[in-house]
């Protein structure tokens, strides 16, 4: 199954694109998804472990189901700004 992955901030910078197409069999866990993304885009190796996933505009948990039409995004750590 081909999934569309939205990228932002440093993830977009490293991948050189704001949207990746990734091949990933479904059903898939977040670990499967991470593997599929790194196979397609090894440039994300350093940053992906620090990111969260969003599925359909919500932070994904181990229980979140990934469907063929899910909106998937990589969410790098939020700016934090002044501590």
């Amino acid at each position: 199954m081909t999934l569309q992955i939205k990228l932002f901030a440093v993830a977009m910078q490293k991948a050189g694109t704001s949207e990746l197409e990734v091949d990933c069999p479904l059903p898939a866990t977040l670990v499967d998804l991470e593997q599929a993304i790194l196979t397609t885009c090894p440039a994300l190796t350093d940053v992906l472990p620090h990111c969260r996933f969003a599925i359909d505009d919500q932070f994904a948990t181990a229980q979140t189901e990934i469907a063929a039409d899910s909106t998937i995004a990589i969410i790098p750590p939020v700016s934090g700004g002044a501590l």
């Binding site: 932002f8 901030a9 940053v47 969003a54 919500q58 939020v78 700016s79």
Partner: protein, 139 residues
Amino acid sequence: MIEITNNVIDSQAVLESVQDTRAGAVVLFLGTTRSITGDRGTDSLDYECYESMAIQQLEALETTARERWDVINIQITHRLGHLLPGEASVAIAVSSAHRVNAFECGQWLIDTLKEDVPIWKKENWSDGTHEWVHPGMEG
């Protein structure tokens, strides 16, 4: 109410939007662009967001805050785009009958916003380099 805008934040309008004659306290937080961080100079910042998710997360923040604290009005305004030193990237205003609620709620809102709302900033350092700011992630 929540707002994501490309315009300069009008802090007076943010304040006025929460005022209420039942309120004894208003707390306003402004996150402003520093020109110096440690010993590095900043020329400007660029903010971008994942808008559909950011709006949902901001609305969820307001809902949760209202469940936790007895407050009257909440306004969260976040700016995107290119900011110069001194300009505000975010304004949060909370009104309440008693001040402890406005302080606690305002501080929780900005702390949680900066954890969970997908808005990112890029530092344009005065040495000409650019860097996305991601706490806990090197370079």
